[in-house]
Amino acid sequence: MSVLEKVRPARVVSEPRVTDEHGRRVRVWELALRYALLLAVLALTVGPFLWQLSTSLKGPTEDIYTSPPRFLPSDPTFHNYERVSETIPVWDYALNSLKVATANVVTNCVGSALAGYALARLRYRGRRAATLAFILAMLVPVEGIIIAQFTTMRELGLNNTLVGVVLPGCIGAMNVLLMRNAFLNLPYEIEEAAFVDGANVWQRFVRIALPSVKGTLAVVAIFAFMGAWDDFLWPLIVLSDPSKFTLTIGLNYLHGTFANDERLVAAGTVIAVAPLIALFACLQRYFFRGVGEGAVKG
């Protein structure tokens, strides 16, 4: 771009051939600055997780309060993970969280696909009212209705059960509207052809419409899993029996009861966060693509 670069082509060629999204070469100093900033933010966002991992691997004889701090455990051990499972039934809690999250994924995918299809593709009286109901439900602040949800659950006799944890969020209004938008974007022609061939509503839904919205369905599944696995306020209110706790509530309990041993709490948090980071690392490519597409299409 500048005159300098034109008169010294040899030096430009010797630079690493890094280009931006438009195929333009990025200058070395700018690249160095970018990487320096990226690494600084990386330390800030991922560093705390690594420090937690490191604390969980430090043995009982190692001082975890040293100043200056020591990042690497001098004698790494898995002892704290054994101890945390002796202190609270952490694997049972993880299993409870897994049950809740899996149920949430299944119900959200099936329920929002069905309802989304009905809102986008089928004609009947009351469709606008049904759409409006989902929009209203999306706008209701969950934090404000949590006490009424709790009394509703008690009236149904489902308090202190995992079913009670799953039910209020098992078909999210937001997910229904996401699926509706995905179905709206499909062309009508293919379904019409299938209709002429004698396919009924259910067949057209399962064989034609559903396979075309896999991307959105994946985003719904990821959000449903993370939402259920990470939720705190609702399980805190609905669960009272420690044997039914999910992992997040169990961790809060562990923190409250054994706050004096950070190694234990650290091991517990690593158990809670590791599966999610692994899941996300596997799916991040689909996730960013799906979220990006949805946002651009608006």
């Binding site: 309802a115 009947y124 989902f134 439900a137 969950v142 009394t151 969020g169 009508y188 966060v273 991040q284």
Partner: protein, 297 residues
């Protein structure tokens, strides 16, 4: 394809569309819309956990006016919006600009910056409780460089500030993705034209990038202010269930949870606080959207 086929495809058996929509309608009806309406009704009763309430008119709201804890909650939730929202509108935009360019390894950085979003708020809360502990990592770093130890979790105001910092830290990646999608739509020609006119990086940011992503900034402002006003988990985990020293760090939703649950929970009174939360949330949305429209004209 004739028109008659189109209309035949769209006109279905009268029952089947409702069968498709039924599970979804049932769930949001029973667990979102019905609780919403019953919250509005309960706010005017003296209902308790195990006792059916009777209508008491505006008594709950009158009591709120004289309840110190309510004013503390309102103050803290409002402070939370003031403290968190500007940071969450600006910082993720800068972060999005940083990760926008496709340089080697950028996909790794993007997902790594998203890690705090993926992690449960409980994990995040407990990690920061440990980091900000009197003897934790941040304090031992501060001591190493000679600043000395700071009571992040023992001082009422520092505790609230720390919780805000954690909220911002956890939200960065989420809003970064929203900005990334918006930035992808900014035409490159605008930047080049500005560069040809001799505008530096800061000037181009202010004259090209910010106007182009303005509507996204408003969206992020609206989303983050509503979320900030309803803050619960961060403060609950860092300050404890009773809300820090003398309960001074209690937020409104913490107050709802504390007064409305348990065997002696005052469902009616907690519902009245919830109604305040609804009203302020809607007001915040309208305020942000209105500010947006005024700027445009």
């Amino acid at each position: 394809m004739t028109m008659s086929t189109v209309s035949r495809v769209r006109r279905q058996l009268p029952l089947s569309p409702w069968l498709f929509a039924a599970p979804g309608l049932l769930v949001i009806g029973a667990f979102i819309l019905y609780p919403f309406v019953s919250t509005l009704i309960n706010a005017f009763t003296d209902r308790r956990t195990l006792i059916e309430g009777k209508f008491v008119g505006l008594d709950n709201f009158r009591e709120l006016l004289h309840d110190d804890m309510f004013w503390i909650g309102l103050r803290n939730s409002t402070l939370y919006v003031v403290g968190v929202v500007p940071a969450l509108v600006l910082l993720p935009l800068l972060l999005a600009l940083l990760v926008q360019k496709n340089i080697p390894g950028i996909a790794f950085f993007r997902s790594a910056f998203y890690t705090p979003v993926v992690a449960s708020i409980v994990v995040v809360g407990l990690i920061w409780v440990w980091l900000l502990d009197e003897r934790g990592l941040v304090n031992s770093l501060l001591e190493t460089i000679g600043v000395g130890r700071v009571g992040f979790l023992s001082d009422q105001w520092l505790l609230l500030l720390s919780a805000m910092a954690v909220t911002v830290w956890k939200g960065l990646g989420y809003y970064m993705i929203i900005y990334l999608a918006a930035l992808a739509n900014v035409p490159r020609e605008l930047h080049e034209a500005a560069a040809v006119d001799g505008a530096g990086a800061v000037r181009r940011f202010l004259t090209v990038t910010v106007p182009a992503v303005r509507s996204t900034m408003v969206l992020v402002g609206a989303l983050s202010s509503v979320a900030a006003f309803k803050v619960f988990s961060e403060v609950y985990l860092m300050a404890g269930p009773s809300g820090g020293p003398a309960g001074e760090d209690t937020t409104l939703v913490m107050l709802v949870q504390r007064t409305g649950t348990g065997l002696t929970g005052r469902v009616g009174y907690a519902s009245a606080i919830s109604v305040v939360v609804f009203v302020v949330t809607v007001a915040l949305m309208l305020l942000v959207l209105r500010a947006d429209r005024r700027d445009e004209s």
